[in-house]
Symmetry: C2
Amino acid sequence: MTEPLKLAIAGLGTVGAGIVKIVQTHGDLLEARAGRPIAITAISARSRSKDRGVDLSGYAWEDDPVALARRDDVDVVIEVMGGEDGPAKACVETALGNGKHVVTANKALLAMHGQELAELAEANKAALRYEAAVAGGIPIVKALTEGLAANGIERVMGVMNGTCNYILTVMEDTGADYADVLKDAQELGYAEADPATDVGGFDAAHKLSLLAATAFGTRVDFAGVKIEGIERISLTDIEDAADMGYRIKLLGVARMNEDGLEQRMQPCLVPADSPLGQLEGVSNMVVVEGDFVGQTVYQGPGAGEGPTASAVMGDVMDIARGLVIPAFGAPAKSLVQAPRSTKGADAEYYLRFSLADQAGVLARVATILGEHGISINRMRQYGHADKMAPVLIVTHKVARTRLDGALAEIAGEDVSLAAPVAIRIETV
Amino acid sequence: MTEPLKLAIAGLGTVGAGIVKIVQTHGDLLEARAGRPIAITAISARSRSKDRGVDLSGYAWEDDPVALARRDDVDVVIEVMGGEDGPAKACVETALGNGKHVVTANKALLAMHGQELAELAEANKAALRYEAAVAGGIPIVKALTEGLAANGIERVMGVMNGTCNYILTVMEDTGADYADVLKDAQELGYAEADPATDVGGFDAAHKLSLLAATAFGTRVDFAGVKIEGIERISLTDIEDAADMGYRIKLLGVARMNEDGLEQRMQPCLVPADSPLGQLEGVSNMVVVEGDFVGQTVYQGPGAGEGPTASAVMGDVMDIARGLVIPAFGAPAKSLVQAPRSTKGADAEYYLRFSLADQAGVLARVATILGEHGISINRMRQYGHADKMAPVLIVTHKVARTRLDGALAEIAGEDVSLAAPVAIRIETV
């Protein structure tokens, strides 16, 4: 019999338990497909006594994930503890340093330390894989690094945070305000008690930074992602976007411009009849554009026990079959530190101003936009009961820097009662 | 320097020329990602003198693709000639027999001879890859064999023929009849002069049979695919489906039932707001449902020079990186000859009857359906100018065999002026 591939699991939360379930449910299937048995030999978690709904009695226990990563009876260390530093990092470093393959679902760890960990993996001829870290069950890292490996990638974009997409979808469907929907989502368990990582766009930005590195052969540059969350999106914005044939999505976009790498995670208007515009609920979607393949679209569950465990075990299956490729699709030493694009591509923008309800105010806004060379495609002013008049404007294509200048000037006017909202209209 | 991976290309039509363009355009990129250079060493095609818009002067020429497959300076033979037998088969067999890897875009060849070729490949430790044969540029074979390899697959389905989807989309958009749209599509080059392979569903059925083998660990069984084309779909069907919130797609569905493997390629009604229902034009879409991952969806260009060449070269990149896995995701000898499911899952059906315009006719149809235990969900009779009354019925869930019995009886009635049309409503 061929030697089994021996797994250690560090972290037995939802995902860890899901991995155990797959191995216990599909032992024969995995062996047939991988050409060798897949066996869990050791596990580690904070609490040994907690009931996780799976039988862990056949596995060696380690209190310390670093000790787990050192065990001789382990070929692959699966890190599903989370955290960008601390025990997760120590566990992964120890495993790679000992020549063991690592499969992780930890987007924060890779977003912060991807380059050094990729180098460490290659120096030790070990695989470092992270399909589960990006877009849950969708095999998008594989599509990008392998299936589309013969393409120059032109743009990668997507909806990569199910919580945000759920909130925006429910706001549109029910007409409820952001704060109310967030509260419901927290009660339903779709959003964390501290939602900032999700609704602030940071979780999705971690993922985008990993896809960008893979797509463009660059070093992971999470700090270079321009991040805006969905906290300031109002029902007015959503309804007005819908009226114009758009939907608002927290959209990550990575593209290589002439002056460097552009990485944005921000609310965008996308056409309602595009795949991204049609995405509902907690699903994720990634769109990849390559110079030969054109546009391909990948959709699926972005989180949860089964999908995440499926992605982790997909990576394990590759390792079992002998596939060891560089973490970001090209040798870590060859990844370049791309300059950050300051310009970005011009775009149309949706603008919302909260203006004092008095004569001449609209003309003032239009004049300032005109002085900055920004031309107006359409404009709409809503009826209003109080002293504040919401004014909605869609611009023609303009550079963001130019727009920001105009918005700053308008925000400084007495008649401006709240900071203007500007949402990019992304061509998809 | 690492040894280059040496390619031979058999067939220099659109796809062959696209492969040459990728290798010539992206030499550095491919080398960086694969860890070794990728070089074309030899080519073969019917006409040596034809201008293909690419410089072929650096490559050795063979008139005979079998001689090409025997060359010592070749590691991978790329077969993009087409044809389920003849030179393509001889070329692939020779290459595999000589221990050379094969990458092919030839769905017909694999649909007819997949099992024997997979066995031959494994006996010679060679890879046999065919990403380009299914759904063009979408890396769906990779997703199924690798990314989702830890799942028990529950259902694979999709729209895998761009010509058919284009025709159905244009019929709906313009209100033109099938015959007129087909004629236009032929003039535009979207459909062949002899369209039977496309509109008859055979091309898509080839692809489905390959996905089914991969998904369920079964031997390719193209003859087991129940095939219906789109030739009998009328504008009435499309418009009526739209009225009810559905769209008609030529949908391939593969599923393992208790009594065996179900493979169907037939027009189906799918919800208009589902990903499959929203698919427009020549795009392809495949939906994979796994027991852990849930539902994932893959969309992209299903044909064309760039997308197909991208898929071929994705396979080449895997080989360059050392990945050699069985063609259908598990060793060929382990693939089982599954019985063909005779039952299939129950479904709702959309029915169209062309009845003589006379008293009691509708009651007769309803009575026959009732006698067969088929209950009616909704019914509609259109106004009509001639002697023929179109009657549309949506049933509740029913077994296809039971439905066929009722339809045969109704077709035998004098008042039935044309064979009834029955279109399955697929739950997606």
